[in-house]
Amino acid sequence: MRGLFAARPLLLWPAGCALLVASVAVAITIGPAGISVGEVAAVTVSRLGGADSGLSAIREGIVWDLRLPRTLLAAVCGAGLALCGVVMQSLLRNPLADPFVLGVSSGASTGAVLVVVLGVGGGALSLSTGAFLGAACSFALVLGLGHLSGGTTDRVVLSGVATMQLFSALTSLVVMSSADPEQTRGVLFWLLGSLSGASWPDVWPCLLVLLLALPACLGRAPALDALVFGQDAAGSLGIHVARTRLALLGVTALMTAALVSVVGAIGFVGLVLPHAARAIVGPGHRRLLPVSALAGAIFLVWADTVARTVLDPQELPVGVVTSLIGVPAFVHILYRGRRTA
C-alpha cells in the first residue's frame, strides 16, 4: 500500500497542495447559483487588491462572503481534526483515539447548551465562547482524573470516556429539563457538526490555531515516532515523555476546543483520516502529520460540499456526511489491512 509516495515523498507535497487548492476552487463553484472557477479566481484577485472582477455585487458576495469562508473553514477544520487524530492515536497508543477522546466535544456541548438554553452569562457569552469554556473544563477534568489514577495512557483514555459520559448526561439533563423544541433542534444540529453560516470571523481564529499547532506537532514528530513502543522505550531514546505528553495534549485540546466551538463536533475525520494517511505514507510522523492534515482538509471540503447540496434546499449536518462517507472508507482500510493485524 505504501509504495509510490513512501519512496518519493517530494511528489506528495506539490500533488497534495495542488489537489487542496483545486478542491477549494471547484467546491466553491458547486451550489444553487452557478459560478465558474474563473469567476472564483477573478473575485479572489479583486478582493486581494487586484483588478476588478466585473461581476455583480451579489455574485461577488456569494463567492467572497458565503462560499469562500465556508470552504476554507472546512479545509482548516479537516486539517486540524486529522492532525489532532494522529497525535492522539500515537500519544495514547490507541488506534481508536480521536480528537474528542479527551472529552472536549462533550464539554463543549454542555457549555453551549448552558449558554443557549439556560442563558448562562446573561447574553454576554456567545455559543462559541460557552462551548470553548466547556471544552476547557472537561479537558482539565480528564487530565486531573488521568493524573490521579496514575497518569498512564490507558488511564487518560478511560478518564476521557468517563468525562464524556458525565458531560453528555449534563447536556441531556439541561436540554430535557428546559429547552423548547426549536432550541433542541438548533443545539442538536450544532452538536452533529455544521459549517453553515460560516463567515470570515469564524475562519481566522481556527486558522491561527492550526498554524500554531502544526509546527508545534511537527517539532515533536520524533517523540511521536519514539512512543510507538511505549513510554519507557521513548524515554530510553532520549525523549522527555511527560513533558512531550503534556505539551501535545494541551495543543490538541486547544485546537479541538477552538474548532468545536465554531463548527460543533464533526466526527470521524480525526479517527479515520490518520489511518488512511498511514496507509499512504507509512507510520513516520514527519510525513504522516502534514499528509494527514492535507488529506483531512481535502476530505472535509468535499464532505461539506455534499452536505450543503445533496438535499438542496435543505442542509445536512456535515457530521452526518463524514460518517456516511467515512464508515465505508474505514471498512475498506480495515479490510485491506487484515493480513497485518
Binding site: 492515536q89 500515537s90 497508543r93 490507541n94 488506534p95 511537527l218 517539532g219 515533536r220 514528530a221 520524533p222 515516532d225 519514539a226 510507538v228 513502543f229 511505549g230 519507557d232 522505550a233 524515554g235 530510553s236 531514546l237 532520549g238 525523549i239 522527555h240 498511514r278 507509512g282 507510520p283 513516520g284 514527519r286 489491512g337 497485518t340 493485524a341
Partner: protein, 259 residues
Amino acid sequence: MSLRAEDVSWSVGGRMIVAGVSLEPAPGQTVGLLGPNGSGKSTLLRLLAGVRRTSSGVVRLDGAPLEEIGRKGAARRIAVVEQEATPQVDLTVGDVVRLGRIPHRRAWAPLSSADEAAVEAALGHTGLTDQAEQSWHTLSGGERQRAHIARALAQEPRELLLDEPTNHLDVRHQLELLDLITRLPVTTVIALHDLNLASMFCDHLVVLREGRVVAAGPPERVVTPRLVSEVYGVRAVVSPDGPGGRPYVRFLPPTGEAR
C-alpha cells in the same frame, strides 16, 4: 570508566524496589543480572538508563551524573532493549531500526548519510539486512528481538542494557541471541532468568533479592547450590560442566521437607 551506579535506590508507595545497589561494569564486559521475579532487575536497568530517576544514590556516565547529561545525551550513549515491546501500528524492520537514530537527530532534520550508515550497520550486525522492508507483524519472536537489538545498535551506544531478551524464544534462538549480544563491542548489562545461560555468556554476575545485591562476581564464584537455594528457594546441584568449566545448574524436585 563507563557506567557506574553508586548506592542507588528506588521506591514507590513506600516500598523499596531497588535498595542501595552499586554496580560498575568494566568496559566491554557482559554483566548478568539475576534474581527471582520482582527482585528489582527491570527497575535497576531503568535507573541505569536514566529512564527512572533514583530516589537516592546516583548513576554516573564517565563520572558525570546522568541527570546532568540529560535525556538525549544519555540516549546517545546508553541503549535499552525492553521486555516484549510491541508497536501499536504496523512498522517495517527498517522503521524500527531508524528509531535508534532519534537521539542523534534534530527534530526537523531528515536522515543524514551517517544515520543511514548506522542503520545499515545495525541491520548487518543482526543479520536483518534482507528483512528491512518486512512488516513487524510477520516477524518471528527471534526476529523481533533481533530487530530491537538492531534498533539499540543504531543508537551507536557504548552501553547496552537488555531486559530478559531471551523470553519466549526457543533454545536455538536464545543461544544465538546471547552469542550475538556478548560479541558486540559494548558494555552490556543483561537481566536473565536462566542461570545456565547467564553462567555461559556473562563475565560477571550480580544477584538481586528484594532489591538488594546478595552476590556478585564471576559465575563460578556466584552460582552455588547455596545461593540457588537462598535466592530462588529451590534445591540444585551445581557442577563445572559448562563451557570452559563454567558452572552448570541442575535443579532437583522439591523434597516436601522443610527447606
